[in-house]
Symmetry: C2
Subunit: 128 residues, 2 copies
Amino acid sequence: MDDSNTSHFRPKRPSCFMRQLERGYFVGGRLWLEKEGELYMGMGRAILLERIDQYGSIAAAARSMNLGYRNAWLWIEALNRLAPSPLVEKSIGGVGGGNAYLTEEGKKAVKQYRKLKDKFEEFLEQLE
Amino acid sequence: MDDSNTSHFRPKRPSCFMRQLERGYFVGGRLWLEKEGELYMGMGRAILLERIDQYGSIAAAARSMNLGYRNAWLWIEALNRLAPSPLVEKSIGGVGGGNAYLTEEGKKAVKQYRKLKDKFEEFLEQLE
């Protein structure tokens, strides 16, 4: 999954990586981080964070990836709770609920997951 | 997931690999093969094949991994259909439905997935 793919984000298979092998077979993979048995970070959540950084709005970020607003909130709630410190903060809401932005910890978390994703793609590439 | 873990097979998370990172975080991963958009081989199916090889019986293999008999049949149906040639064959049924065994292609498929799994575990091990 490269960046051009992530703009065609498919909520049903948010964290799937795919690589074509020979004879019509594909190798598929997922990679995520969890804490206390709960999903912390995956491809979908990393994209949501990036979009929040880009749009400054949870609603716009969710809309851009065809993610329900309620789900976006649930993801952010879990991200903030399971991270060492909150990843997303909200400015005081005006019309439309105000803006949202990534904290330093949030930017770090996105970078870390992107690095993990790159390594995973390299791993899949070298499989025969 | 090492071999001792696979004997505590959990049908709800059949293909999950886990590795503990620092500060209570875990990295989780899945790896599978698919064809025509359909799941072909994953950890659960590989274990089922190994158990069929071990017990010579689909019912016993399924039972040993807490897998429903009907699901075992559905998995085998898909494996046989999506493989280059059938992986599991059945001898003519007597009392209890007869025996089952792996074909050469079946043994090869198990070995290939095991190798993939080993590489994936190595990959997870070297993550920071």
